[in-house]
């Protein structure tokens, strides 16, 4: 093989290796992210979706990469809890949301977030009772979609409650609060939702870690 051919072979080898490395870099590092879950749509005059969620004090080692972080879970159609916060919902639909709240309270940084807004009737039910505001110090998490001006504060489990859940996904037999509300999705788009309670233990202002990572306390509503 002449030296020119050797050089060309060498350069092609370098290009191939670089290409593979770049491919891994782009796909593995940058494009990787949490997967979306699409709950089933119930037929009717307007499309309806039942969305069941839970919030836990610690995600637990079975489903999450960071077992000590607070997290949301969503119940899928096979009655298993999934660790994703990206949900695909139909446009102009009615969404009935049930949240089982297993975490203790942390209190809101801005008490204004304790007022229920944006749901149907601007109310929610807390353990069966309809209400439109909670004591801000009792808040454990929120479910808020600022683009829809929607916010629902979630009350925390009392500190002295019996049978508290250690890490998720939590069974309904352990101490929890049940919050339900209904809201309407708008037209097509991607709407971010987040928790507003500083529940990320150990991080400054309680807003680091799980509060800034998709899959734990922040997510998207893919309205299609």
């Amino acid at each position: 093989m002449s030296s020119t051919q050797k050089k060309i072979a060498g350069i092609l080898a370098v290009v191939a290796v670089a290409g593979v490395a770049i491919g891994f870099y782009v796909v593995g590092v940058w494009l990787a992210g949490p997967k979306a879950y699409r709950p089933p749509v119930l037929a009717g005059a307007t499309p309806t979706v039942d969305l069941t969620l839970q919030t836990d004090a610690a995600a637990g080692p079975t489903l999450a990469a960071n077992p000590d972080w607070v997290s949301y879970f969503v119940l899928d159609s096979t009655n298993h809890w999934r660790h994703t916060t990206i949900w695909t919902l139909p446009a102009h639909a009615t969404i009935h949301v049930t949240i089982y709240q297993f975490d203790g309270d942390s209190g809101l940084r801005n008490p204004f977030m304790a007022k229920v807004r944006g749901t149907v009737g601007n109310t929610m039910t807390l353990n069966g009772e309809t209400t439109d505001v909670i004591n801000p110090n009792d808040a454990s998490h929120t479910f808020a979609v600022p683009a829809l001006d929607l916010i629902v504060p979630l009350v925390g489990v009392a500190d002295d409650a019996k049978n508290q859940c250690g890490f998720g996904p939590c069974p309904l037999s352990t101490a929890h609060q049940t919050i339900t509300f209904t809201f309407e999705t708008p037209g097509k788009g991607r709407y971010r939702w987040q928790c507003f309670v500083p529940c990320a233990a150990g991080f400054l202002d309680g807003f680091g870690g799980p509060m800034q990572t998709l899959g734990y306390m922040d997510g998207f509503l893919n309205v299609v």
């Binding site: 788009g189 233990a201 400054l204 807003f207 800034q212 998207f220």
Partner: protein
């Protein structure tokens, strides 16, 4: 393959010891936290983040890396009382590039390849950013990754390209231009390079530790909220800061102490003055960054509250410390380009540098004034509002010495014999780009106008015009001009022109519309924007892809001309009167056969009987 040569102090040993040090630090950190049971560090259990371990890991990793490369040999030998000498310069073989070399030419080539590699990584990140911004909603990159992507691009570029010209070109050429055989501190010279390489690897590792959410400016208190990847950012800039500080020190020491006899300050090539003014900034500004980052690291680990307002600190403190470094930093990026443009224009117009002393005053003036302007990054931050007129004045005053470079460039080409070689084309492009970069700087330095443009894409376009349009274009001018001297082979002229025109047109097409986007209300570092701005964003992204392709054209030219075509350059392909072109190409290991005595400056074009040095260089084929 000579196995004995593999074992010894080189890059392989460095990597092995570096990785070993990393794990030692990592597990040592965990042992420290758990074993010593420090109450205030209990929160590590809640957060799943162990910043102390990661910092220790990086620190011991870098130390292991440097020891493996052989940096500890000289100090240890001296400590034990053994005589020392500069390591023998290996004369041949590719292995000298993969270790500690005290030959300034080898370090220059190492810098060229190393910085080039990281520049391409940063550039790839930029392509991903523009791909993501093709659509106003999140496209392919999840929202959390996008912030790390933006941070990685900015941080990599800012950290690496500050040494972009001084590293490869000043290390290689400064001794030759002043008539010396080495830099003042050859071992420190090698250290600055390897620190930079370690830093680059550390920054890339940030993506595996949860990313960096703050952008390259690392503002507090978001900095304290960040995941472990933030520690990688802090370590990166700390190492880059040390590297910059030492690089500047080395440059200044070399120019001050090692000039050949007769090389007075006014006979220095204008490029050397560019290096001097840059080195002063590097030496004085980098330590402030290191201090700010040390405080940030302490806030993140042992829970001090330098920057946490709720516990008595101030978020303004970080902004001030960072930008006290940050503004001289951007002049570090711009100043070498000033020197290169004037140096090359003199050669390609076949005339002396017009207004040499005015140009020197301009460069030193920019250098000095750059320390007085940093508050213009905080115009709307809530600083005391009567500070704003002062900083507006000081920032606008900097445009005066910058303007000196323009008038000197204009005078240099007046009535010249202008040759449109590829290096000259890049210098002319500098004039065009820096004109718009500098003028839009006047807009952002004007406080009322800055109310709209601060934190928007207008500022982005401004600094890309000055940094990329200024630094990167002169970087390529320097490559096409000096690489033939460094390797002995010319770059292909036709491919060079294709590279130039694609790059110039796509560069302006990419960053020009960003001024409009900023004025129309698009903020920086956002993954979503109003849908009516999509056509303009798509145009910008398409142009950016072409810009990326132009870099591939350059790579092709580099590989083709240096490995295949191999057209010999000869000693002086451009007919320059400067000292480095009186030596053979590539420059021999010992540089000068005899140290010359300088009797004139290198700009005697058209002057009867002008001589640069005595004795005349025999057999080098250059001008006497």
């Amino acid at each position: 393959m000579n196995v004995r040569r593999l074992i010894g102090f080189n890059l392989l040993t460095g990597i092995v010891l570096g990785v070993g040090g990393f794990y030692l630090g990592w597990y040592g950190g965990h042992w420290l936290i758990n074993g010593l049971d420090i109450k205030s560090l209990d929160y590590f259990g809640d957060t799943d983040q162990n910043d102390v371990s990661l910092f220790l890991a990086y620190l011991l990793g870098v130390i292991g890396f440097l020891v493996g490369l052989g940096f500890a040999n000289y100090p240890l030998a001296r400590l034990r009382g053994y005589p020392s000498s500069l390591r023998e310069k290996e004369t041949t073989g590719i292995s000298r590039y993969f270790g500690l070399s005290t030959d300034h030419k080898v370090v220059g080539m190492q810098y060229f390849v190393g910085i080039g590699l990281f520049f391409f990584v940063g550039g790839l990140n930029a392509m991903l950013i523009r791909f993501e911004l093709l659509r106003p909603e999140p496209n392919v990159i999840p929202a959390g990754n996008y912030l790390t992507l933006v941070t990685e691009h900015g941080t990599m570029m800012m950290g690496m390209m500050t040494s972009g010209i001084l590293g490869p070109f000043a290390n290689y050429l400064l001794p030759l231009m002043i008539g010396a055989r080495r830099m003042a501190f050859p071992r420190i010279e090698a250290l600055t390079f390897w620190l930079l390489m370690a830093a680059g690897v550390i920054l890339i590792s940030a993506v595996f530790y949860g990313g960096v959410p703050t952008g390259w400016t690392g503002y507090e208190p978001l900095n304290v909220q960040g995941n472990m990847g933030m520690d990688a950012y802090i370590m990166f800039f700390a190492l880059v800061g040390i590297s910059m500080c030492l690089l500047g020190l080395n440059m200044l020491a070399t120019v001050i102490t090692m000039r050949a006899p007769g090389m007075t300050w006014t006979r220095l090539p204008i490029f050397v003055w560019g290096v001097i003014s840059t080195a002063v900034l590097m030496l004085l500004a980098a330590p402030v960054l290191i201090a700010a980052l040390t405080m940030a690291a302490m806030d993140r680990t042992v829970q001090t509250s330098f920057f946490v307002t709720a516990q008595g600190g101030s978020s303004y403190l970080f902004e001030d410390l960072f930008w006290f470094f940050g503004h001289p930093e951007v002049y570090i990026l711009a100043l070498p380009g000033f020197g290169i443009v004037l140096e090359l224009m003199a050669v390609f117009a076949r005339k002396p540098v017009w207004g040499y002393r005015l140009a020197v005053a301009g460069m030193l003036g920019v250098s000095l004034l750059s320390f007085t302007v940093w508050q213009h990054h905080l115009f709307v931050s809530g600083i005391n509002s009567d500070l704003r007129p002062f900083y507006m004045l000081s920032t606008e005053l900097i445009s005066i010495p910058t303007g000196f470079i323009f008038v000197c460039a204009m005078g240099t080409v007046w009535r010249g014999r202008i040759q449109f070689t590829v290096p000259m084309l890049f210098c002319l492009a500098w004039v065009f780009n820096f004109l718009f970069g500098g003028l839009t700087g006047i807009f952002v330095s004007d406080a009322p106008s800055d109310v709209t443009t601060h934190g928007s894409f207008f500022v982005m376009a401004h600094f890309h015009y000055t940094i990329m349009g200024g630094l990167i274009f002169t970087f390529f001018a320097a490559i096409y001009y000096w690489l033939p001297k460094m390797t002995g082979y010319m770059m292909n002229e036709r491919l060079g022109k294709v590279h130039f025109w694609t790059m110039f047109i796509s560069f302006n097409s990419t960053f020009g519309p960003l001024f409009a986007l900023g004025f129309m209300g698009m903020a920086r570092r956002v993954v979503t924007y109003p849908t009516n701005l999509q056509p303009l964003n798509d145009w910008v992204s398409a142009s950016a892809f072409v810009l990326g392709i132009s870099m591939l054209v350059f790579l092709y030219n580099l590989v083709y001309s240096q490995l295949f075509a191999k057209v010999p350059a000869g000693a002086n392909p451009w007919g320059s009167r400067s000292l480095e072109f009186q030596l053979p190409s590539p420059v021999p290991v010992h540089d000068f056969d005899r140290i010359p005595v300088i009797v004139g400056d290198p700009y005697g074009y058209g002057e009867e009987g002008a001589v640069v040095a005595r004795p005349a260089f025999a057999g080098a084929g250059g001008q006497p």
